[in-house]
Symmetry: D2
Subunit: 164 residues, 4 copies
C-alpha cells in the first residue's frame, strides 16, 4: 500500500555482485546507519541494514562503492524467508533500492577500482577518474551457477525475485 525507506550510511563491506541464471545483475550490501542519538551509556550505536539493488545500478554500486563508502538508498522494505541448513525458518527484512546515491567524490569511493559503463557521478566529477581501459566488471566473478551461495543467503534466488 505505501512502503518507503530512505537511508544514508556507510557500506560495512564491499558490495557483493551476483547474476541470476538469466544474467540479471543483483548487488547486496549492508549500510551502517549511525543513530543520531546516544544510548544510556552515551555511545552512538548504528543499525545495519541489508540492501539489494538490481540491474544497471547493481553494477554501478559494485564498481563505485566499497567498504566505508557513504551512500544514500531510496527504496522499499521487503520481507522474505527461507529454511537454513538445519531446517530452521529464517526471516529476512531488507531494503530493495530504487535508487542508490553516491555521496562521496569519486576518488574517495573507488580509488583502486576498475571502470564500468556510465558514471553515476555528476558532470563535475566525470572524466577525472583514472582510466583502466574497458575491462568491464573487472575483479568480479560471474556466478550464474551459484548466486547468493554464501553468507547464509538463500541459494534459490532466481529471476522471480526481480522487483518489476
Amino acid at each position: 500500500m505505501m512502503n518507503r525507506v530512505v537511508l544514508v550510511g556507510r557500506l560495512t563491506k564491499d558490495p557483493d555482485l551476483r547474476y541470476t541464471p538469466n544474467g540479471v545483475p543483483v548487488a547486496n550490501f549492508t549500510l551502517a546507519v549511525n543513530r543520531t542519538f546516544t544510548n544510556q551509556q552515551g555511545e552512538r550505536e548504528a543499525d545495519f541494514i541489508n540492501c539489494v539493488v538490481w540491474r544497471r545500478q547493481a553494477e554501478n554500486v559494485a564498481n563505485y562503492l566499497k567498504k566505508g563508502s557513504l551512500a544514500g538508498v531510496d527504496g522499499r522494505l521487503q520481507t522474505r524467508s527461507y529454511d537454513d541448513q538445519d531446517g530452521k525458518r529464517v526471516y529476512v527484512t531488507e531494503v530493495v533500492a530504487d535508487n542508490v546515491q553516491f555521496l562521496e567524490p569519486r576518488s574517495a569511493a573507488s580509488q583502486d577500482r576498475g571502470n564500468f559503463g556510465e558514471s553515476p557521478f555528476g558532470e563535475g566529477q566525470r572524466n577525472q577518474g583514472s582510466s583502466y581501459g574497458d575491462q568491464r566488471n573487472q575483479g568480479y566473478t560471474r556466478t550464474d551457477e551459484d548466486p547468493f551461495s554464501n553468507d547464509g543467503q538463500p541459494i534459490d534466488i532466481s529471476d522471480d525475485d526481480l522487483p518489476f
Copy 2:
C-alpha cells in the same frame, strides 16, 4: 545518519502490549503491506513488517487498533540480534515508530474495545464512541515480570531499549 521509513498497511494480529520493568509501555505489531505490483504469476504479494511503538502511543495502538486495522507508521529502521534457545544468533530488523496513524473511522477499528486515555482520532470522531467507563487497559495483562517472553522475542528487553 539518515533513516526514515513510512508504511501504510494492515495489522496481521491484535497488537501486543507489554511493559518494561520500569513500567514503560511498548506495543509490538506486524503490518502487512500489499505491494503495488504483481509477481510473475500475477499475484499481489505483501511484505510483513514488524513494528514497535513506545509510551503513550503504545497504549493508543493497543486500544484502538486490532487485527485488520489500516494504519500508517512513520519511523526508523532498527536492527538488533539475540541468541535463540539453541544458541543461534538471530538478526531482527524492525521499524521503531515515531508516529502511528489510524486510518479508519473509530468504529471500524475498535468496535468492541475498551477506552483508554486521550483519543488519537481527530475532533470529528471523538465523543462518538461507546464508553465503557475507565477500565484502563482492559483485556491486557500487565507483564512487567516477563516482557516479550513469547514469539521468539528476546526475553531481556529492558528500559535500555527506549529509543530516547
Copy 3:
C-alpha cells in the same frame, strides 16, 4: 540527489484532470494534511500540499477520488516558476506523485462517479461498485487545447513537464 515525500491527507476539492497537447493525462489536486500536534491555541492546523500525477494514475485519481477522499501520496518535491498576469514571478513547490494510494473503501470515495479502466482498489473491493458500462472518462472534458488554463496555473504546461 535524494528527494522523497510521503503524505496522507484528504483532497480539498475534486481532482482536476487535464491533457497535454499530446494527449497525456495529468491530474492536479491538493491534499489537506492535518498536523499531529496543536498550535499555541490548542488547534490542530493543516498543511495544504499541491500534488500532480501523470498518465494512467491521473485518470484513476480523477475517477476514484473526490473532495474529502483520504489518499496517500508517494513522490518527490518539484519546484518551478512562472510569471503571473502582472509580470510577477511566482514560485511553486509541488509533489509529483509516483504513486497515489486510495485509503478508503470504494463506496466512500466515489459514490456517484463513473467507472474508468482498471480499478486501483485491491481484490476485495473490486466488482462491488455500481457499473455504468464503459463510458470512459465520463463527466470530464478533454482540454487538449487549453491545459491548465485556470486557477493561476501556468498556461504553457506541455509534454516537456512529463517527469520521465
Copy 4:
C-alpha cells in the same frame, strides 16, 4: 496525518540565521536537489527547496554549513501564506527539518567559519578542526528586532511558528 520529506542536496547560499523575539534561533536555507533523470534536452535539472530549522540545529547549520555544502534533511512539508508589499497573497511551501545531516567532512563544509557549541560531526571528525576559541555565533548579527525582514520573507514570524 502523515507528512514526511527526505532530501539530500547542496546549499545554494550560506544559511540565514535569525532569532525570534524570544530569542529562539531559526535558520533558513535552500537546498538544490539535482534530479536523477534528465529532461528532453538531456540536461539534469534541479529542484530548489526552501528549508527551515529551529533551535540548536539552527545554530549548528549556521556554523557548519555554507554555500555548496552537501546536506541531508529529514522533516515535514509545511505551507503558509502572507500578503506581499502590494497586497497580493503569496503561498509558501517549505520543509521544516527535524534533523539536518552534514554529509561532508568538516574541512570541506566550514573552512573559514568560527566554532559553535557541540560539533554535529561524528567521533572521527571531531577535534581535527581548527579552533578559533569560543567566539560563538561569529559573523552573525542577532536580529531579534527584525527577524525575517528581507528576501520577501514575512516580517511577522514569531514564537508561534515554533513547530513544537
